[in-house]
Symmetry: C2
Subunit: 376 residues, 2 copies
């Protein structure tokens, strides 16, 4: 089986991650912050070190501002719904439904107006965003790397804009953290949402919202925190006020080995993803009846296309059933960019890579695509 | 190390659970419902079978009404905030902050008034609840087994009341599912929240809200569902409309082996918990300066007490540091029952058992408690 759906979840988990998870099931299964006994303290200490490792990975000073959530989607819900108020929000055509749905579903309740930036050429630019800024603009939400085209947003320039105008800068790092180094401080990012089960090769079941010290948030979930327990209202303390219930300790135990593995293998993985992207994109460009949606100069492991005369789901079905190659079809939960690309009807085929993919796998994919393209 | 904090999280995970988790990290890491390739279908099939196993375990007909959440706390948030409206809600003094905090935090927004039932003797009875029912009572929320005293609520009688008056019946099964068989249909339960990392010995990072077909819910989270992807508003379809983002697939993979293990070992585990409870409660009753809060006739593995002259945290610290015994101190996130017991200041020591605890461990605890009680 060849797995090219890494933008959904990386199937490859390093041995160190699997071993940490196996061991956590026996040794770190108590409730951190909920007791003073040795096992609770041991688990709490692991959780704190994981916060520190994440903070360090993304250039955030205060580990207590690393909020563990159920998923990157929940992290974005907390960032967005947690900050919404009367006023104006700018976001982009590249956003995933994890941004669009909380934003549009809650817009009326919070009297928020929304502007959507379109690309200038292939990518979003800061100038197009600046033109939309109003006096009451309070938040800009940007997908760092598009899960459809792989397009990269200019975080540094947008961050400068946000700082200049006193606007909250929220970044969806679902497709980037683990692959791309992000420094929240340098880029003036106020909130960064992370999907550790993708680029970091950690377990599913854990997301992260990294928040700078100045940000205040409305709660979106309520429950036991192990603190202020006499209070039947939710405490505002970070991080536990925003992490109700028992944490996904086993999934959290995968974070430190995952980060260590990524850092150790960063150069090798980057090179592999760059080279395989080049092979696949160049190969696709030689097949006459394929339309490529990823800009042909991009080399970051996300490659979307359609074969003329076949729907994206037909191509995926043939790839899976006849070649045992797993790629993703459809809309990838990002409707606006598909509308823009005129692929709202059937979506696109997406090949997404990780550092564990091989040259042989890329060649097998191209062989299969050539054969399938001859069917159409 | 002796672990008696099973009401927080059971530290003991059966080999079959650990093996399933280890294997899922390599074989079931794709996104269910997000692609048509073989790995996504394999993962989706595992997730569906897990829904079916949970539905079967709790007497729910429709597996599509098994909603996977981040935790039992999130399941309760979804049940409560998802159903709140203008009117009246009844709940009990035994509730955890996972019920109290969403309810009280959102009461004003939804114009909901709240009545709290006190016990009649040790336990809540249905008659006390019936006396509080008003014309506009639309929801009754009951903790099945108290995480502080172990007290059991009469679900069948309360369910009959709810059916008679057309009131939603929400049950917090955090401390019971896995230990006690619950049949939602027989007990007229509309929504049951489950913490599989406790009584079922499954992984942390997965909760369940089991819902009957007639219940409609407001969303509390928004994002990609793999369905209706052109729609920037949240779909109402079950289960995926209520399960945004990537599911905790690895934690879900622990559910079927966990349920199978519990069913296979049910009689043995029940007997062990009953007998150890008896040994510990009878032992505690022979120590003169201990106040027991658990009714002395209860034998369900949750035993709370204080030693005169020592705070609950002092007792826990001594047990952990000098005897390597892990028990829980403090308020256990359930403030109202502590107010009722007059233990709001320092909480109580809680010993909570599972079927993996041994007679030797119970004797070690009693020996330690006798020695500590002589310090005070």
């Amino acid at each position: 089986m060849i797995y090219f759906d890494n933008s959904a979840t990386t199937n490859f988990k390093p041995e160190c991650v699997k071993n940490a998870v196996y061991s956590a099931m026996s040794n770190l299964s108590a409730n951190p912050g909920r007791g003073s006994h040795s096992m609770a303290i041991k688990t709490a200490s692991m959780v704190y070190l994981a916060r520190k490792a994440i903070a360090n990975e993304v250039g955030l000073k205060n580990p207590d501002r690393v909020i563990f959530t159920a998923s990157c989607t929940e992290a974005l819900n907390l960032a967005i719904i947690g900050s919404m108020k009367r006023g104006h929000v700018i976001t982009t055509i590249f956003e995933h439904n994890s941004v669009l749905r909380p934003l549009f579903s809650k817009a009326k309740e919070f009297y928020t107006e929304i502007s959507i930036v379109e690309p200038n050429g292939n990518s979003i630019d800061a100038k197009s965003i600046e033109r939309l800024i109003r006096k009451d603009t309070y938040m800009i939400i940007v997908n760092h790397v598009s899960n459809v085209t792989g397009q990269i947003a200019p975080l540094y320039e947008i961050g400068k804009l946000c700082k200049k105008h006193g606007i909250l800068f929220v970044v969806d790092g679902a497709q980037s953290v683990g692959y791309n180094k992000i420094d929240m401080e340098n880029n003036n990012i106020d909130m960064l949402a992370i999907a550790p089960h993708k680029g970091l090769h950690a377990l599913t079941g854990i997301g992260v919202l990294a928040i700078t010290d100045n940000v205040k948030l409305r709660h979106i979930k309520f429950g036991g925190t192990g603190t202020s327990s006499t209070d039947i209202y939710q405490p505002n303390s970070f991080p536990e006020g925003y992490e109700v219930g028992t944490l996904p300790t086993v999934a959290i135990s995968s974070l430190i080995p995952a980060i260590n593995w990524c850092e150790k293998n960063r150069i090798k993985n980057d090179k592999r993803i760059f080279e395989l992207s080049e092979i696949i994109i160049n190969g696709i460009l030689t097949i006459p009846n394929i339309t490529l949606y990823t800009p042909p100069n991009l080399r970051n492991g996300i490659i979307s296309f359609n074969i003329d005369g076949l729907s994206s789901s037909e191509v995926c079905d043939i790839l899976s059933s006849q070649y045992d190659i797993c790629v993703r079809c459809g809309l990838h939960c990002a409707p606006l960019i598909h509308k823009y690309l005129d692929t709202l009807d059937g979506g696109a085929v997406r090949v997404s890579l990780c550092g564990d993919n091989t040259y042989g796998e890329a060649e097998s994919l191209l062989l299969a695509l050539r054969e399938i393209s001859e069917l159409s």
